[in-house]
Structures are given as structure tokens and as C-alpha cells.
């Protein structure tokens, strides 16, 4: 029977307590699809050991021996969540790839629901979006929203508010995006280079670690670093704004300069200070010119950066297997999928 293969990628840093339960949940999804004779096979779950600070590695080794579909990739040092996710994606072969956190914040029970939504909307990338407050902290959730909004306005990337580490992606596209990423590329920005069919669906997501301990994996320093990488990876609006500002300064200097010259020639008494005219003309003109050309240089630099980061001129995608999954879910009412998920 023709089927679509599904992979799950989980970066692991401090998941000792959660991993056995997570694998059990993945096993349930696998069995469920098998029992339903769904055209979906969860062929692998790739756990990427990003130099864990607890006993995650030994827990994973035990799980690997228990389940032949559990794969463990060990990174040589702690590279961070995004590089670990990229490494995991580049180690799997599924037609669809889920990425999820280790701490059960993202429940595999929603896999079916997400796949259904993705094929129904012909999406290439689908993010899970929290149904309600993730952190159960007004300040934390509000600052997160404002932060994302600020980044949208700086980068001109409307998809940023959707970004979430619980994602579903077409395998070919995810692998392509992962393969172009350098150490500074923001993975979700790279995904946006390959598709505009990016949607999100609301799910009950909770950051249990933050709610229970008040500690988040993201402190202010990490958030700033994220923002920096996001800005660097994106074709930023700021640069274009700089060019326009420089151009405006240049035009202003020409207009203002013309006014000064006219006044100097025809109303000489209106300018008392000697040398003021030439001083102002020079400052305005060369200031505007410098700002304009600096903006142009930065725009070039930004293009070169995107070129070296691997932004593709085009990418070919095959969505033909969607019909298979769509017809499977058409036989299963939506509430049944959700009920089973719940």
C-alpha cells in the first residue's frame, strides 16, 4: 500500500524526566496509525543529544534499544536548539517531519490533527499555536507577543508570530532549508525562503517547565540573541529605511541648499554669519550622500549575506501524496481525530 512516511525530531538538552513518556506517546501514535491502516507510518523519531546536562543520553540509549524506530544523534558539543533541530532534520527521511520539544509541551497526540490541517490547507509548513496563555503569566505572554510584533515590523516577515518549535513540515522542504542553514541562520526564516504556504493551528500548549518552576529556557540574553539572528537572517526593512532616510536627507539638502543660494544671491542681508551658507550646504549634501550610499552598501551586503546563507532562487516541491492523506482523513471525521487526540 502506498503511504507517506513521518519523522519526528526532538532536540534534547535536559529531558531525562520527560523522554520515556514522550517516546511512549510516539509509540501510541505509531500503533494507532497501524491499527487504523492509515496511509501514514511514523518511521523514525530522531533524538538529537545536544550535550545534555542530565542523564538524557543514557535514557535515550535505553529507549533506542527498546524501540527500533528511535534514533539517537549525538552532537559533539552544545550547539543550541536550532542547530540540533537542523541536525535532526538532516538525519531523517520522512515525507513529513514534526519537530517538538523534549518536555512534553508538545504532545504527539496532535500529530494526526496537524497532518489533517496541513493537507486540507495544502500547507508546506504548519506551526502549532497556543490556544491560550502558554506561560500563564500576563507579563511573559505579553512581552513575547510584543517582541514578535517588533520583529515583524523590523524584518517585514509576516510569519514570525507563527514561529514555534512545534512544527510540521514537508520533509523535502525541511531538509532543503536545513541544508542551507549556516551557524547564524534562523531556521524558521530559512523555511520562509522555500514556501509561503505557512499556516498555524491552535492547540493547547503549555510551557509546564515555566509554569511549575518559573524558569524558562529563554532568558533576556537568549531572546536578544534570537532577535539578532532573526534580523541577520532576514532581509531587514531597517536597511531599506536607512537608504530612504539618506535619500531624503540628500533631497532636503538640495532643496534647502537652493533656498540658501537664492537668499544669498538675492537677499544678501538675510544671512548674517559669514561662511554659514557653504558650511550648511556642505554638511547637508555630504551627510545625505554618505547616508544614502551607506544604505546602498548595506543593501548590497544584505543581498550577499542572503546569497551566502543559501536563499534559493527557486525550489521544486511534490505535493502529490497529499491526496492519499486527505482521503484518509476524509473517512475520519474531524472530531474523531480530535477526540482520539484528547
Amino acid at each position: 500500500m502506498q503511504h507517506a512516511t513521518v519523522s519526528a525530531v526532538v532536540p534534547v538538552y535536559a529531558g531525562e524526566k520527560f523522554l520515556p513518556q514522550l517516546v511512549e506517546k510516539l509509540a501510541v501514535v505509531r500503533q494507532q496509525w497501524q491499527a487504523q491502516q492509515a496511509p501514514l507510518v511514523l518511521t523514525e523519531a530522531v533524538f538529537v543529544c545536544d550535550e545534555p546536562i542530565d542523564a538524557s543520553a543514557s535514557v535515550l540509549e535505553r529507549l533506542r534499544q527498546q524501540y527500533d524506530w528511535v534514533k539517537v544523534v549525538t552532537l559533539s558539543k552544545n550547539f543550541g536548539q536550532h542547530p540540533a533541530t537542523i541536525a535532526g532534520i538532516l538525519h531523517c527521511s520522512g515525507d513529513w517531519i514534526f519537530t517538538l520539544d523534549e518536555d512534553l509541551q508538545h504532545d504527539p497526540v496532535h500529530f494526526g490533527e496537524l497532518l489533517r490541517r496541513a493537507v486540507e490547507t495544502s500547507s508546506d509548513i504548519l506551526y502549532a499555536k497556543p490556544l491560550e496563555s502558554v506561560h500563564e503569566s500576563v507579563f511573559r505572554d505579553l512581552s513575547s507577543r510584543l517582541y514578535k510584533r517588533l520583529l515583524v515590523s523590523l524584518t517585514n516577515n509576516p510569519h514570525i508570530p507563527q514561529f514555534n518549535s512545534f512544527r510540521l513540515m514537508r520533509g523535502a522542504l525541511a531538509r532543503a532549508a536545513a541544508s542551507v542553514c549556516s551557524h547564524e541562520t534562523y531556521f524558521d526564516v530559512a523555511l520562509c525562503w522555500f514556501s509561503n504556504r505557512i499556516t498555524s493551528t491552535r492547540l493547547p500548549l503549555k510551557d509546564r517547565r515555566f509554569i511549575e518552576t518559573g524558569k524558562s529556557g529563554y532568558n533576556l540574553g537568549k531572546l536578544l540573541s534570537h532577535a539578532r539572528r532573526l534580523l541577520v537572517s532576514s532581509q531587514t526593512k531597517v536597511l531599506r529605511g536607512g537608504v530612504l532616510l539618506g535619500l531624503a536627507g540628500l533631497l532636503l539638502s538640495v532643496i534647502f541648499g537652493a533656498d540658501i543660494v537664492v537668499r544669498r544671491l538675492f537677499v544678501p542681508g538675510s544671512i548674517d554669519v559669514k561662511g554659514w551658507t557653504s558650511q550648511m550646504l556642505g554638511t547637508l549634501f555630504f551627510g545625505g550622500l554618505s547616508a544614502f550610499f551607506l544604505g546602498v552598501c548595506l543593501e548590497y551586503l544584505s543581498n550577499i549575506l542572503l546569497h551566502t546563507q543559501g536563499k534559493p532562487p527557486f525550489f521544486v516541491i511534490d505535493r502529490s501524496k497529499d491526496a492519499l492523506i486527505r482521503s484518509h482523513f476524509a473517512r475520519e471525521p474531524a472530531d474523531a481525530v480530535t477526540a482520539r487526540s484528547a
Partner: protein, 309 residues
Amino acid sequence: MLLLHAPPEATGIRRVVALFGHGLVGGAIARRLSASLGGREALPFTWSRPEGQLAELARIGERSSELGGPDGRLDLVWSAGKCGFDASEEDAGRELECFGRVVSFAQSLASASTGRLASFHLLSSAGGLFEGQRDIRRDSLPDPRRPYGTLKLRQELFLEGLPASVARHVYRPSSIYGPVSPRHRSGLVSTALLNGVRHEVTSVTGSFTTLRDYVFVEDVAGFVAAQVLHGAPRERGVHFLVSGRPTSIYEVQQEVQRVLKRRIYLAVKSRLTNEQDITFHRQVMPADWHPADLATGLRLVYAQLALQP
């Protein structure tokens, strides 16, 4: 073909390795074995003249017994092959006949009267045997889709005819890449690298998203040479020499571009049979097999390319 041999003072016993085929993989194996054994001698084994092959094999037998002496040990490595992935049934048939003659020759060497043959090592092809399969595991069954794959499967079956006293090792490498040479076939990785240097277009039959598994030739050669030199007697093994890491053609393109620091041009020719993925589960990999990743291997190939005049 090459006879690689060592005097008794080097290994304790007189060792002779008969190596058939010294192209990309065979050449690398020959270099490894030469470095350990020391002696190297070329003898003719002509593909184009099957009628002369029996006489050539007899000569190889004679010479190997001269080099090894009455108590010497002979190991035979088959890494030869004219057929590529797109070989016709006729070509595959001819190659199988030739291989059959070599196996018969090996049987005669292993017979009770001489008993000199210690092991037979066959370079097979994981891609040919498991074409179109994904996440190939130890219990996956070979299901060749083309004459090349059938040839490899039948070659493996031929080894069953060898006496039990002969150790036999079958190596199933995935897509091998290595230094580019006009003397042997080059795969996508090396060709893309070379064409990238020359600013030429590389034609790819498949699609950008086709997944394959790539291994560096020196890793394969090192593993095979270690089995030839240190393998236990009467041992039997099927070794999947794969990386266990699915790699798309698009990723190969990106990696080559990173190494060359310039754009390369790939022209994709769509052919359904070549678009099928071939990927392996890491459980099939031998415990003592540690392949280099694609980025490292590519840099090594590029370094060798840069050294060429």
C-alpha cells in the same frame, strides 16, 4: 588485476591478496593493502576477451603460489565491474559470467589439494539491491529493480558455492564518492565538485529531493582492507557500508557550493526510476565502521583535486 604480497618477515606468514578491479574503490583498497604488505604486481585480466580469461586466471594462480609459497595465505578481493547502475541485461549477464569464472577459480584454489584460499571479499552494492526502499534495516529484503541490482544479488549468491573453509565477506556500500579520475566512473558528488571547479553544468538524473546515502571511498577501502588483513578464518559477514544519513541532491549541491565558495549548476533530468529514495537505518552499520560525514569527505576530495596538476 593486482597481486599484493608481503614477505614472511612482515606478517609472519606469506600473504598474497589477489585484487580484481582497481578503479575508484579497488584503487583505494590497493593503496591500503600495498601500504601494509609492501609488494605489488600487476597481471592481465582482460574484460574484452572472455575466451582468454581462463588462461589469465591460471597464470594468476601460478604467480600467487610462487609469491605465497606452499604455506602462504591467499585472499581474493572482487571490486571489479564494468556495469554501472544503468547497465543493460546483456552487459550484466556478461559480467556475471566473468565473475562466475573467478568464483570457479577461487573454488579450485580452495580445494583440498591446495587449500590456499583463506577468504573471498565481494564488493556488492546496497543501492542496487535495495533500490527504492527507505529506512533499510537488517531484516530488509533485497529487491533489485534493474539488471545491475540483479547482477549484484546473483554475485552474492555465487559465493555460497565456496567451501566452508573459506571466509567470505560481502560489502554493501551505498553511493561511494571519492577523487575524480578519468580512469573510473564518478558519482554525483565528485562530478558536481569537478564540474563546479570547471564552471560546467552537472546533469542529474532524478530530482533535487531524491534521497541517497553517501560514503567516502577511503572509509570503504579502510574497512575492506582491515577485513582482508585481520579477518578471522571461516568468518562470514555481510557489511552495510552506509552512512545512515539520508542526503538529498539539493543538500549535495549546497555542500559542494560551500566547499567551492561558488554556485554550481545542476540540470535535473527527471526519470521516475532514479527519483526513488534509498536510505538506511543506522542499525545496519557495522560496529567498527565510522564513516566521515559528507562535508568532511567533500573537503578531502576537493583537497586531492586541488593537488592534481
